[in-house]
């Protein structure tokens, strides 16, 4: 996918919990906080596994974000998907 399109896509998903798979096969889960023309910044979270339409997390959080959180280069993104969550 072209870099501009990924920028727009990330921007549209701002404030949503997403799973981003990078081209090296790694998965990153978090809430999109900020996007610039190079990177998307996630507030990391390890919750939200797609299970019957609900998001469920297992085993806590792998890493914690500070400031704009984890930056992922737009060019490195293979796929982006919304992570569903359930709240009372």
């Amino acid at each position: 996918m072209a870099k501009e399109n990924m920028y727009q896509m990330c921007n549209r998903h701002r404030g949503k919990a997403v799973m981003i798979r990078t081209k090296d096969g790694k998965e990153h889960r978090g809430i999109i906080q900020h996007v610039d023309n190079r990177q998307v910044y996630l507030q990391p979270m390890n919750g939200g596994r797609n299970l019957g339409g609900f998001g469920y997390g297992y085993g806590g959080y792998g890493y914690r974000g500070r400031g704009f959180g984890l930056g992922i280069a737009l060019g490195a993104i293979a796929t982006l998907a919304i992570v569903p969550f359930f709240f009372w």
Binding site: G53, G55, G57
Partner: protein, 237 residues
């Protein structure tokens, strides 16, 4: 002060923090027509997602209250941009400042469950007009829980009770309401729909405790998925 599940929802700024989210709210209101003479109260409005939807979709006057000041702050941010007739304030649904018989419709989206329903239901009933409606999306006990399980859930969520459908019915009837319908909602989420995906209005820095609370919530809900269910109660005064 110890941080609670509701504080966690506020810190993450979770929009539509109730079963089914905004998608279910839309479905619930699909056949409703609220005109400019009607007053609709979003009781426990959270970040104001439903209040914003009401104001955009209908010409009615929208009232929104939440007990959590951070939620009201985030809701206000969302709602000022709409430039609609919305009145939002910090208030307890167990003790509302509205006059008796002044509201046409009240929405409680997983809110009464977090209060003392024997106080909040009569209070909501008090402010409803005659023939006014209460729509409540609430947690119900589907199967008996062990004492330990009940304690774990109520302590974690800061609830006083987990009620069966019958217990809910008794409380609505005791407050003088008529129950029109009780539905089991469809809670499938559409993963591709950005608009209805859970919306997070994050605070600038989120305490580590809130990550732990979110994580624990997810595990608890999974562990007790057979015992805990959801109903939509539609009542009239």
């Amino acid at each position: 002060m110890e941080k609670t599940y509701l504080d966690c929802l506020a810190a993450f700024g979770i929009g539509g923090a109730h079963p089914g989210g905004l998608q279910l709210t839309k479905k619930l209101l699909a056949n409703e027509r609220f005109d400019e003479n009607m007053v609709v109260l979003d009781a426990g409005c959270g970040t104001g997602q439903t209040a914003a939807y009401l104001a955009n979709e209908f010409d009615c006057q929208v009232l929104a209250v939440d007990l959590n000041p951070l939620m009201v702050e985030k809701a206000t941010e969302r709602l000022v941009n709409l430039q609609k007739d919305i009145c939002i304030e910090v208030a307890d649904v167990q003790s509302l400042s509205y006059e008796e018989g002044s509201i046409d419709v009240i929405l409680s989206e997983s809110v009464i469950s977090f209060t003392n329903p024997t106080i909040s239901i009569p209070e909501m009933t008090r402010v409803l007009k005659n023939n006014g409606k209460l729509f409540a999306i609430e947690m119900v006990l589907e199967q008996p829980l062990s004492a330990d399980g009940r304690k774990e859930i109520t302590e974690f969520y800061g609830m006083d009770q987990i009620w069966s459908v019958n217990e809910w019915m008794r409380a609505f009837l005791a407050a003088g309401l008529t129950i029109q319908s009780i539905e089991v909602p469809e809670l499938e989420t559409d993963n591709d729909d950005i608009e209805t995906a859970t919306d997070f209005s994050l605070s600038e820095s989120i305490d580590e405790t809130f990550h732990d609370i979110l994580s624990r919530h997810v595990v608890l809900t999974e562990n007790y998925k057979d015992q805990l269910g959801v109903r939509i109660f539609k009542c009239t005064k």
